[in-house]
Amino acid sequence: MSSTEAIVLAKTPRSRRRHPVAVWVSIALLGLVTFLAIFGNLIAPDATAQSILDSLLPPGSPGHLLGTDELGRDVLALTIAGASSALVGPVCVALGSMLLGILLGTVSGYLRGPIDFIIGRWTDLLFSLPLLLAAIVVAGVFGAGYWMTVLLLILLFSPSDIRIVRAGVMEQAARPFVEAAQMLSLSKTRIMFTQVLPNVSSLIITNSMLNVAFALVAFSSLSFLGVGVAPGTADWGRQLTDGRAIMIDNPAAVLIPALLIIGVASAANLVGDWLGQILTRTGRS
């Protein structure tokens, strides 16, 4: 299966075409969401405040640009406040699984032998269950909260990082410059982290950017299914579950968060692809 990932994540060999416009739009969108994730609380301090009197107002109502939901919460404020839930978790998942990937992948790919075997079987095991299914079952049955879900997803995302780093390290480790370092009798740890790893960095950065996109999808899927995020939290996935029933009264309550999830995930994916192309181009001659 690792070869498949390599293909899915592979930079298309012949495509020299850049997509600057789409990339700039994506970066702008990611920037906006990051801004909202940091300052959302200041812009919309009482996003989750309920008001039965104002429930189910259509978009364009005075004081409520995007209307309100069944509980009378302002959809715009709720959406702005949801940015932090949408970004913090996925970024933590990407960083955490990147760290696990670097550590275990490098050790596994460079040292080989029994350590590689054990790590390999571990990733096989985690891989044999679909990520989303495992997350639903574990988070649902054990009632995990937001941060437990982050840890769970780090665990479930890590095998692909481990395999990608391992494959990259193995490719680099067979190169003569690594053997030249061995001829200088440098220690294995030193060769691994100073000679081999920097050459895999473009792969790692690209993959982490893609992981942000996939983690956002996983997170919002879990909250859409009613696991992972506590009810009442400002969260885009949660908004979709709640908004399904009021689609006719206030379509904005569903369409805006749905478009945002699709947009942010696509943007992260696009920027990841683009970074990969740029980094491999500068890494090689």
Binding site: R175, P176, E179, A180, M183, P198
Partner: protein, 545 residues
């Protein structure tokens, strides 16, 4: 151009309606790349049954010229000029429709690497049959196809069973024969062969070239032979063009170009090609200490003694008890074709590979297998591929300083090190990607020498370089050997290269030493039939037919 015509077939001319006897004439062939003209306009013509060789080093534009004539230029490149064939005249750039009618039927292109030029998941017969079908006006029945495929295979001296085989079941030489059969299945007027033997072992190269020559004469087909190897064209091409930086610098009848080159670049190419220069005395070797070989033979002052070394990968044994000795200050060559085990023995000595059995001793002290028992100062290695032997993320200066630090030398020795390998001092700041192949190999040598090793192992260290650069690196090694009193273990598939540098030589075949002795003796009077074949292949003797 006019000279060529005059020398060929003065009467034939280039009239498109002249039947079979017409020649192929290309005028004003130009290739434009994204950054301007890549190949400057040139003309040539080839008479039926004759071969024109286009010689140049990598990057000279020879392959782009070939692809331009076959209509297979990569995206971003366009061609100009006119191709006149017996059956058609093609104005470049031509449309897809024109190329569809031309490629295969009139012009066919044979590629360099038989290991990649056939589809791995289709049977050889199918691939030949597809070509036959593509050129045929009518739909052929299965039996007709099989019949024609068998005929085509017979032409290239292959049995009919090969049709059922997948490419991976055949040797490199056989695959190239299948490729030739496929390329000629449409009976083109012009065959372009782009380095058709470069990927093959020396013993196969001559056979393939002679086969091509024979087929071509029988059909009266014109051939354009692209090569980097001036020595190879002797006796195999009537005329030769020498290309450099996209420009033809010399042209003429092969023998006169080889014997009396007029352009300095052609002279340099001939001088750099060891097979074309004086064969009896290694010019470089004469400059070195001559007594070393004698010492080593008596066993006094041996630096490295490898005894009965065996090595297996899984159930495949690549070394069956190889013994190699390198004396102090001596240069020892190990020669063999790919798969002979020559690189494996070098890597076992370096500790990069763990030998399965046998003893490797340094200064009379046995070393345990692997790097752990060795120190950097004992030996260093310079690898084959200059593009991957330097860490792309690290500047030249940092790479060298790391090596200096390991040896306990001050970072200020960096300048001296760069001077030693004749590189400008500002190269310290450059990344490997900014360097040419030859420059990278100089940096790799400098890194190896930074720790002042007693033994330098060169594993095919010049074989990835162009001939003119090869010569520079060999000269550098010869100079360093004298200046630093280095011992060198030199691994190569190229006898001509070993001859220039080595005092003694071992000939390896299938993991056994078949012959060894003083370099001059072994290469001038080989006793083992295999060595004799290697020597014969390496001096590019003209085919006799």
């Amino acid at each position: 151009m006019t000279q060529l015509n005059a020398a060929n077939t003065p009467a034939a001319g280039a009239h498109p309606d002249t039947p079979a006897a017409a020649q192929v004439t290309v005028t004003g062939l130009t290739v434009d790349g994204p950054a301007g003209v890549v190949v400057k306009p040139f003309d040539f013509s080839i008479a039926p049954g004759e071969t024109l060789a286009l010689i140049g080093e990598s990057g000279s534009g020879k392959t782009l010229s070939a692809k331009a004539i076959a209509g297979l230029l990569p995206a971003g490149f366009t061609a100009r000029g006119t191709i006149e064939l017996a059956s058609a005249t093609i104005e470049l750039p031509a449309t897809d429709a024109v190329w569809r009618a031309t490629r295969g039927r009139r012009i066919s292109l044979l590629l360099q690497d038989p290991f990649t030029s056939l589809s791995p998941v289709h049977r050889c017969g199918t691939q030949i049959a597809m070509t036959i079908q593509a050129a045929s006006a009518t739909r052929l029945s299965k039996a007709e196809c099989t019949e024609l495929v068998t005929q085509r295979l017979a032409e290239v001296n292959l049995p009919a069973e090969v049709a059922r085989a997948y490419p991976h079941e055949l040797s490199g030489g056989m695959r190239q024969r299948v490729a030739i059969a496929a390329a000629l299945a449409t009976d083109p007027e012009l065959l372009i062969a782009d380095e058709p033997t470069t990927a093959l072992d020396a013993s196969n190269q001559g056979e393939i070239l002679d086969l091509l020559r024979g087929l071509q004469e029988k059909r009266g087909m014109a051939a354009l032979l692209i090569s980097h190897d001036l020595g190879m064209v002797r006796g195999r091409a009537e005329h030769v063009l020498v290309m450099r930086h996209g420009e033809i610098v010399e042209r003429g009848v092969t023998s006169s170009v080889l014997n009396a080159p007029s352009h300095p670049y052609t002279r340099a190419l001939i001088e750099a090609d060891p097979s074309l220069t004086d064969r009896s005395a290694g010019v470089v070797r004469a400059a070195s200490g001559a007594g070393a070989g004698g010492d080593a033979a008596t066993g006094v002052g041996d630096l490295v003694v490898a005894t009965d070394v065996t090595k297996s990968f899984g159930d495949k044994t690549v070394l069956h008890g190889v013994s190699v000795t390198v004396g102090r200050g001596e240069t020892v060559g190990i020669v063999g074709e790919s798969g002979s085990g020559k690189t494996t023995i070098a890597r076992c000595i370096a500790g990069l590979e763990h030998e399965s059995s046998g003893v490797i001793a340094f200064h009379g002290v046995a070393l345990a297998p692997g790097r752990a028992s060795r120190t950097p100062k004992q030996m260093q290695i310079v690898f084959q591929d200059p593009y991957s032997s330097l860490n792309p993320m690290i500047s030249v200066g940092r790479s060298l300083k790391l090596a200096l630090r390991v040896a306990g030398r001050p970072a200020s020795d960096l300048n001296g090190l760069l001077q030693l390998v004749e590189l400008p001092l500002e190269f310290a700041r450059k990344r490997p990607a900014e360097l040419s192949g030859g420059q990278r190999q100089r940096v790799a040598i400098a890194r190896a020498l930074a720790v002042q090793p007693e033994l330098l192992i060169c594993d095919e260290s010049v074989s990835a370089l162009d001939v003119s650069v090869q010569k520079q690196i060999l000269d550098l090694l010869a100079k360093l050997r004298v200046e630093l009193g280095l011992s060198i273990l030199f691994i190569s598939h190229d006898l001509a290269v070993v001859r220039q540098l080595a005092d003694r030589v071992y000939v390896l075949r299938h993991g056994d030493v078949v012959e060894s002795g003083l370099c001059h003796d072994v290469l001038t009077a080989p006793t083992h039939p295999y060595t004799q074949a290697l020597v014969a292949a390496s001096i590019h003797e003209a085919p006799t037919h």
